[in-house]
Each structure stands twice: as structure tokens, then as C-alpha cells.
Symmetry: C2
Amino acid sequence: MTAAASPDASPFVALVDWGTSNFRLWLVDGEGNILGERQSADGMSACAAENRFAAVLEEHLEALNAPLSLPVIIAGMAGARAGWLEAPYVETPTALSDLYRYTVSPEARRPVHILPGLCQKQTGPFDVMRGEETQLAGVIAGGIETGVICMPGTHCKWVDLEEGVVRRFRTAMTGEVFDLISKQSILRLSMPGGASDLNEAAFDHAVLDAFAPTFSLTTSLFSIRAAGLLSTPAENEAASRLSGLLIGAEIAGMREFFAGGKTVHIVASPKLSALYARALHLAGADASPLDGSALVRHGLFAAARKLFIEV
Amino acid sequence: MTAAASPDASPFVALVDWGTSNFRLWLVDGEGNILGERQSADGMSACAAENRFAAVLEEHLEALNAPLSLPVIIAGMAGARAGWLEAPYVETPTALSDLYRYTVSPEARRPVHILPGLCQKQTGPFDVMRGEETQLAGVIAGGIETGVICMPGTHCKWVDLEEGVVRRFRTAMTGEVFDLISKQSILRLSMPGGASDLNEAAFDHAVLDAFAPTFSLTTSLFSIRAAGLLSTPAENEAASRLSGLLIGAEIAGMREFFAGGKTVHIVASPKLSALYARALHLAGADASPLDGSALVRHGLFAAARKLFIEV
């Protein structure tokens, strides 16, 4: 997909969100206005084997007629060990506004800066993130410097943010486990046909089950299959119950993050945001969805300003 | 695989354990002594599509020179809805010695009896078993009529047995979830090379983690991956930790079964038995491994006696 750059605009920097399976690039001016945009499936996985990172980047920049000297700033898996050039993790607690200091620059025909991910060794169990830290910088750019941020997805990140500093964070494998169990375990037989509407009663009931002090995930899953054999549940009941058990278990496991009545800011697609907000309300928590669509770009732009203007 | 029948023996019945992916048959005399034995990959999955059940059974019997009128008794998935002929679940609480009353007989050239599975609707969450009930009948035949039986595997069954009656039971998807997560999730990258020796310290530590009141499985898994990125764990540490988290979570979820100091009788392969016994000891429970290899045959033989001699 291509959006043509306005011919008379003067680009300030190219911002790149380079994930495992997706590539996204924006050409922006000094105010952060978008002058051109590219998106493709040239993620880290597609580029790593033949080390196509530099070539892919140049190809996309050329398509937008970007000047040869235009600098580029990149967040995401391009900075992983298996990526273009490793940008070593920065350890928590860490100020997100300082991450630009730890960018690494691979060999390229123009200035290229890859932002680092975050790791946790002391402030909680071992954990890592790569890409989400730049979304968090975007959250800060949007005015939220202190709070609990919940970022659902394949690997859900919960983050304790305090005056722009990531104090600690924790990952739940909720999305990946939902995917594996719903598509590949015996439970797949009880949820044919893929996505369907939420069965609110089944979801809520499952979330509340997962909040019980004696709850155990693996000993609760099989009843979904048994219910399909012993009764005639509604078509969307099994998937909604699985979703409720997993999201409920995640929220129960993250209680320490929002204890004491803290608001949980949710960064996700509208559909997923609504599910998490619903479950958080059942936990008595305050949930506030954030528009996540532009966060990476805002975080990249904030880092670019630090790198090229403010310093 | 074939064991030749002794030429002058007089078979009393053929016993069949017909699972999803395996077929096993024993020809026995009136005392239960094995006269011949067959094993193959003709499980339910391989037979269902073209309804080869009768043909496969006759082929194996012929190979053992079984008399044309010899009766057959079958346990397992051959009695599932997708099997040869559905043997409807018998609901708990139920006396295992009575299951022979609920066999079904498919059309065949000889008397064939398929034993039913068990279901639970009132004595706990919806649950089902098919095949394990015959192993349980074998446990009873071995002299244990009252106790807690733990049957680890793909779908682990915990059973509350009282004077030969299954009061209630519960399934944990521990084996299947271990398989999916270790082979297909992001954690696979931290546990290459498949099975290796147990890292006892990592296993024990994980089991104890899973016993904590605030434990949550999905929020604990990712630290295994992060540890692989941030430190240099021993080669067998990641898989042992995953195993400990999952078995620990299962045992914690099944606490009500062995509360009050009840001994847990474990029915599994020696290796898996040892893992469960180790984790149960950490929970302060008494664990006693049972030799599971002959249980199905003993259960089938007990049902055959009821069907053909005692009645």
C-alpha cells in the first residue's frame, strides 16, 4: 500500500515500525505530519534469512521519493538479535524519553537509528519487550505519564508507568495460548467456524470463574469440551468461555498492577479493548481505552525530535 | 506385532483396548491368562472414515486363529460418537462393576460388546472419560476400591473412588497444553532438542511457584522465554520449568481431591509417575505409583467375567 508523498513537502525523518511479520513506514515533516506512508509484509522474518533489511528499507523510501540523506528511525524486531542489528535491551526502571540514547546504527547509505527494547531483571520476573516501549513513548507524547498500561495481543504487556519511567512490566501469553488452544487442542472441536459474536453471559461467567481464589486454568478448560458433548451450548459459547477464562486469568494475575483503584489504560484494537474493559469492570477496576493506532508513530517521532532537534 | 497363540489353549474372550490412535487386543483364557496379543495403529481415527471397525477386528482375530464364535469386549474410543457404535456415557456417581450392563453391540459376525465411558453432570463441572473407566475397573480388580486416582497424560483424569464407585472426577489438559506450548509457542525457541533429563531444581522451583495463592499460569510462562534471552540457563531448564509450572498448577487445582491427607495413586508410565510423585510430595501429599501397564486388560477381563460367567 502506498500513499504518495506531497511533491512540495519537506520530509524531516522516516519513521519505521519493523515488526516480526509487518513493515510500516511514515515520511513526516518537522511537525510530525504524514507526507507519505508504506506498509508491507517485509517483517523481520521475511528479511532476516538473506539480510534484506537495507534493501527493503531503500526500496520503500525510493517509492516515496525520499531524499538520499533523509534519516530513518526504527522500532521493533529489526533490533532483535535475529534482526538487522541488535539494539541491546535497556533495563527497567528506565525513562522512556531516554531510549534514543541507546539506538544502534547499522551500515547503510543514510543515517539509520534502531531503538532498543526493554528488559526486566530486578523489578520483577525476567521479561522483555521490543516495539511496545515505543508505543509507550507515544502514550507519554499523548499526555499520560503516570498510570497502568495494558497492551493486549499475542503477548500482552502490563506496564507500571510513573512520570514517564517504566517501573516494571509483565507479559501474559494470553493471545498466543488462546490461538493454540482454540485452533489446535481438543477444544477446537467445540468451536468450529472461527470468530463469531461474543456470548456475553458465557464470557462474564468465565471471567468471574477465573477470579476465584481456587481457580486453575488447565483444570478448567476441558469442561468446555465436555459441555459440547453433554449439552447443546449456543454456537458462540465455547469460544467466549475460553476467551473469558484466559482474559480473566490474566487480569487476576496482574491484580498487583491496578490494586488501590488505579485506572487501567488499554491499548488495543476496539474489539479487544472492549473485551478487556468488560473483564476489568467485573474485577472492579476502572478501564480506559486508548486509541492505539498512532502510538508507535508518535513514539518514533518523539525519539526523532530528541535525536535530531533537541540534542 | 504378534504373539502366537498357544495351539492347545482354549480362549474365553478377546479383550480390546481401542483408542483414538492405537488398537490393542488380547486373547485370554478363563483365568485371564494371555494366549495371544496384537497391537497396531488401527485406532478410531484410522477406522472411522471408511467404517473399517468390523474388518480390522476380524483381521486381528484371524491372525490369532480365534474361534469364529469367540466373544469380544471393547473399551475406549470405538464407543465414541465418531467410533464404531456409540456407547452412551454413564453418569457419575456410578459403580464401575456395573458398567458391563451398559455395553452396546454393533452388527458383527460374533458377539461384540463395547463398554461405555463416564460423564459428570451433577457431581462437578461437566466432564467425560472414555477408556480410563476400564483402567479404573482394573485398579479395583487389583484391590484398591477406595482412594484418589491420578491418571496423568494428554488429558489427566483425577478420580474420587469410594468402595468401587466413581463419586466424581476432573480432567486437566496438562499434557496437551505442555505439548502445544513447548512445540508451537514462542517458548519452543527456548527448549530446542526435545526431551532431555529433568532439571530437578528448575522443576521443583516451578512447582512451588505454581502452588502460590497468587499464581497465574499465562502470566508466568513468558519469563521462561525472557530467561533464555537475558541469562544462560542450563539446556534442560526451560522444559523442566514449563513442566513444573503445568504439573504444579494441575495439582494445585486438584487439591480438593487429596485434602485431608489422602494418598494419591498415580497411574502412568514410570517417568511421568515419578514427576507427579515428586510434585505431590512438594504439596505435602502422599503419592503411590501404580503399575498401569495391565490395568485396561484387567478391567476388560473383569467386565467379561460379569458379562459371560457371573450373570
